[in-house]
Symmetry: C3
């Protein structure tokens, strides 16, 4: 059984290790896979994006634990989400927005057996979400987690808008400075269109980085199926002053 | 069999990979778990804290390899420590202080079979500690490691002091800027007490981050069972200028 | 079956997770081992060095996926390299130079079955190299990958030169600031020789860090079998202004 971890715990502290220990204690033989522990601190949207990049590639039955959880210890609910043949376990703060499809079933983690004895108020990743994942991987049915939830929190702004042109926003800046947008890649016609960001010259649409010279900007279908703004072997976010939330518009090349 | 790794090797180089390769070569099928490779370089106290956060959550029989080892190549001993049903393998420099309980049994790694042929003088993690863990996970008994050690090195300053008030120190600053202290959390009475650090206003004791407004400081029982100084969705270490070693005092609220 | 990963993807994004998901989907039960995801971006030489530090320690039959791939999407070939009883899968850009021995067999990844359906032009790590590794770990023979390649790209400058003295270059600066050179360690006679870098005083040859006082430079046989310039408990790269490519000469002590 595969259990993945996506958190904002970082890699310096023992937090991730404690979570892994709990899982291996309760689900001996589980395969634990790190997706990322470097989500931006307290930023559920960043965690949601990372999960969305990776989770669909895992086998059916995979259990994904997500912990980007500024509200830990408050009244926010803990959730288990069954979606697309996989299960997601974590806080009810929008982290699982990409998986809250019409078919998804959501349950609140109220079953007291899901919680470690002496659970800390500030570490649900270790004391609630990890044991829940381990129990779901071994001896507990999804429906036993707790009652159905009909109104899980969803993040706003994942959908592009249209007013003659398509407008989207940068939803993620990756390590290389590539800027992933909310615009579906199939809106893009390489060679025919261009992208407009702020006051910069239009950015030509291409198919691969090598369609432009080194250091030149390009917009292209990113590996996650959305339009990306990139600079070949360069840092688009820095050069074009793009941050998450920046507006991107597609239009016909003039 | 589970073998964990806690080092200051960082994640850029091939050092961690080499250690994993050695383990998988000698103990095929071992489950290797990364606890952290970002312990502060050369800082055994930091490594000890990270191990202490994570190790207790692992199943009995887990073997923990710890390598924060400024003295590698010198005369400092290599140790195997059996404590709390688990085994710790690494240098004799205080890294295993939290596990050196009265019941712990410590042995020096003198058995020549524990060392890789052509061992490098500067990489005991790969050439001595990894093979020792792999051998202990497969075909060697703990007692075969070498002779008993009665005087393993211990780190100073893990115990709080009392002079009418309890005084402790910051023992760890985590990724979020939360400051973990040496004061046991059960000294703390939420709502009744407050913590004093340097010249700042007293910090109220609470139960969860949400007990204070965003950006406000709080002291509370941390997830590792000790008193922590935190700022809700903020960085306490930066705001309160706290570093490891800074004094923290608990007193009744005035 | 063991599949290792060495990339420049970094640890923030979901890229590494997606690669792992693909592998676990196609090769259930594979043991995935992270070597490093922090190779310098776009820098095949850095990736080659990291792989060279770690790969030889893994068991025969290990499959190493390497993705440091500035040319992704261009015409550069994808390769599978069989060398030293292991297999390497990744781009043809020099990343596998250390393993391109006389006995190595190299094949181009042309078999269409190696590619994920709907493969992205910009993410061969996920859509070509990961599935290739998974197929090689399960149901495909090495020779089925594609035709032999006789001219894989090799990185220049891995060999030292001799003109009365041996001259090499810094090939890697590790996390601690230790500078690994291209000079084989067996050229070094501790106590007899010294290393010259730029305008700094000669650096004595020793056997272990503790041969010099804290803060003092030393050159010694590094754990990877090459001469290293280090400062005991310090950062040699910073103190001696050494970067990759800097010249290092060995001579008799005067």
């Amino acid at each position: 059984m595969i259990i993945t971890l996506t958190t904002d715990f970082g890699l310096r502290d023992g937090y991730v290790g404690a979570v892994k220990g709990v899982i291996l204690r309760l689900a001996p033989g589980a395969t634990i896979v790190d997706i990322s522990h470097e989500a931006a601190p307290f930023d559920a949207a960043d965690g949601a994006f990372i999960l969305w990049q990776a989770a669909p590639y895992f086998p059916p039955g995979t259990i994904h634990v997500g912990v980007v959880d500024p509200g830990v210890g408050s009244e926010r609910r803990g959730l288990a989400v069954r979606s697309g043949g996989q299960v997601f376990v974590g806080p009810d703060n929008g982290l699982f927005t990409p998986f809250l499809t019409a078919e998804a079933i959501v349950r609140e983690l109220t079953n007291p057996q899901l919680r470690l004895p002496n659970a800390a108020a500030t570490f649900h990743g270790r004391d609630l979400f990890a044991p829940t994942a381990a129990r779901l991987a071994t001896d507990m049915e999804f429906d036993e987690c707790g009652p159905r939830v009909r109104d899980p929190l969803r993040l706003a702004g994942w959908e592009p808008t249209f007013d003659g042109h398509w407008h989207g926003v940068v939803v993620h800046v990756d390590r290389f400075g590539n800027c992933v947008t909310s615009l579906p890649a199939d809106l893009l016609a390489p060679g025919v269109q261009e992208a407009i960001v702020a006051e910069f010259p239009p950015i030509p649409a291409g198919r691969i980085y090598a369609d432009v010279a080194r250091g030149q900007p390009i917009c292209l279908a990113g590996s996650s199926g959305r339009l990306e703004i990139a600079i070949r072997e360069g840092d688009a976010a820095a050069a074009l002053k793009l941050k998450r939330g920046a507006t991107v518009t597609i239009r016909e090349k003039k």
